[in-house]
């Protein structure tokens, strides 16, 4: 009994300490993993190679994406079911949640961190919320499935209409969002069925990939208004495209040296584009239809994952030579890859194995694993400080 009391005292004495230690935690090496089927977010510690908590009750998280508040404390989670959740990484709890539409596809946070925008399939359009309270401050119906939503410098959001082939720029720089509606610039002639878009890390170029045409469309956001420019037109060279079992993603289309790299649609290739002329400068044959082609932060390597049924494999391409220099088979259904901010490690989600694998990007050695339930997207908090992420 006395032993029991002593133990109890020990535990009680330890509690306030724990709370204090927690309140002093920094979030710079934290991240989150979307647990797709269970509607949860796993909070991970990058330095410790470990999960440190799980936040549940976030709804349908297939295709969910995440952005972070400027202080890297809050993660905003955009669920497929239209749920927008604000998760506190320190208290590991849901700090706010709204069901803002029936069917959403992604989101973004403004450069000043005050506005969170969500793009919706149904009803098509973009809704903008106060990042603090999650109160809606603007509703921008587009009458179309809306994709490729990103933040742009100058408190702007840019997004694209799948059905109408237009890109809209919503400028919130004038006044309070709740009072003054945004100034909308509509750019027509983007092309047939844009499926995703990205903004370059400098916030200047917005590039939409087209599903209904062989090519992409680039906008220079420094122009007023931007004039669409078709790039890589006919990159498929008229060949019949292969079936696309998963739409490629353009997010994270980082600069690799002087070149951009992106997944081709309907072919087993990645395409290299000169960052100044925006012309094709080469292509690399890959194992399957690429889904993500992400450059390591230094640009020297590009890691590529693939669509079903070749999705157990990851290829590493050397940027200078454009050659595949390494191939890994982490396991069934590799869905996402996230580099540490300086690129020394890459974290890979292997959905059907229920694992995150951690690799050294220089030696390709596997450094560790973290168990997760049906993991999909991995997001480190350093994204808070990058345009378009």
């Amino acid at each position: 009994m006395t032993r029991f009391m002593a133990l109890l005292c020990l535990v009680l004495a330890a509690l306030p300490w724990r709370a204090q230690a927690d309140s002093l935690r920094a979030t710079g090496d934290l991240g989150v993993v979307v647990e797709r089927a269970s509607g949860a977010l796993l909070i991970i510690d990058q330095s410790d190679h470990a999960a440190i908590g799980r936040v549940e009750g976030l709804g349908d998280l297939s295709h969910a994406s995440v952005v972070f508040s400027p202080d890297e404390r809050f993660a905003y989670v955009f669920g497929r079911d239209g749920g927008l959740s604000k998760v506190d990484l320190l208290t590991q709890s849901v700090a706010g949640r709204v069901l803002q539409s029936g069917n959403a596809i992604g989101g973004a946070i403004s450069d000043d961190g005050r506005l969170v925008a969500v793009s919706n399939y149904e009803p098509g359009g973009v809704r903008v919320f106060d990042a603090g309270t999650l109160k809606m401050v603007a509703d921008i119906p587009t009458g179309s499935k809306t994709i490729g939503l990103v933040d742009a410098p100058g408190r702007r959001f840019v997004f694209t209409l799948w059905d109408a082939g237009e890109t809209w720029i919503a400028d919130f720089s004038k006044g309070e969002a709740a009072v003054t509606p945004p100034k909308i610039t509509r750019v027509q002639g983007i092309g047939r069925n844009p499926y995703d878009a990205l903004i370059t890390a400098d916030g200047r170029r917005y590039i939409a990939g087209l599903f209904g045409e062989d090519g992409l469309t680039a906008l220079d956001l420094w122009q007023q208004p931007p004039i669409p420019r078709r790039i890589l037109a006919g990159y498929g060279r008229g060949e019949e495209p292969l079936p696309v079992y998963k739409m490629p993603h353009l997010e994270g289309w980082a600069l690799a040296g002087e070149r951009f790299v992106l997944p081709a649609v309907g072919r087993h290739e990645v395409l290299w584009i000169d960052s100044r002329s925006l012309e094709e400068v080469g292509r690399t044959r890959t194992h399957g239809q690429p889904v993500f082609a992400v450059a390591r932060p230094d640009g020297q390597q590009v890691w590529v994952n693939f669509a079903h049924p070749l999705n157990d494999t990851v290829e590493v391409i050397d940027t200078p030579s454009g050659e595949v220099i390494h191939r890994l088979t982490p396991g069934p259904a590799v869905l996402h890859m996230e580099f540490t901010p300086r690129g020394h490690e890459v974290w890979v989600s292997v959905r059907d194995a229920g694992r995150i694998d951690i690799y050294d990007t220089h030696s390709f050695e596997k450094l560790g694993e973290v168990a997760a339930q049906n993991p999909s997207g991995i997001f480190f908090t350093a994204r808070a400080h990058r345009t378009g992420l």
Binding site: R80, N103, I105, K145, P243
Partner: protein, 106 residues
């Protein structure tokens, strides 16, 4: 009643157990996973729609099993719906179409 019985039995065979019985053991569970995860990447994990259309039974009601099976096998040209023939047999596609019509996801 007596006349209707064999017809009901036939329908039952065509739509339900027979379709399932054609699959090797364990395959049904794999197909269910494929529907939720891989079809779900376009149609939503709960199949209520995304880039692809709503595949819940109330939205598919009235569409013949054969037509849906064909869509799964051959896709819808000119849209992102891909042909699954390279990856699925006819029996598997029929199993999936049946699964969707019966709201297996719920």
């Amino acid at each position: 009643m007596h006349e209707a019985f064999p017809i009901l039995l036939l329908c039952g065979l065509a739509a339900g157990p027979a379709a399932a019985a054609e699959l090797p053991p364990g395959r049904a569970a794999e197909l269910e996973r494929l529907v939720l995860q891989d079809c779900g990447s376009c149609h939503g994990l709960t199949l209520k729609g995304g880039l692809g259309s709503d595949l819940r039974p109330e939205n598919l009601a009235g569409k013949p099993l054969d037509v849906l099976t064909e869509i799964v096998l051959d896709g819808v040209p000119g849209t992102p719906m891909p042909p699954w023939r390279p990856l699925l047999s006819e029996a598997e596609a029929r199993w999936i179409a049946n699964y969707l019509l019966n709201g297996g996801a719920q």
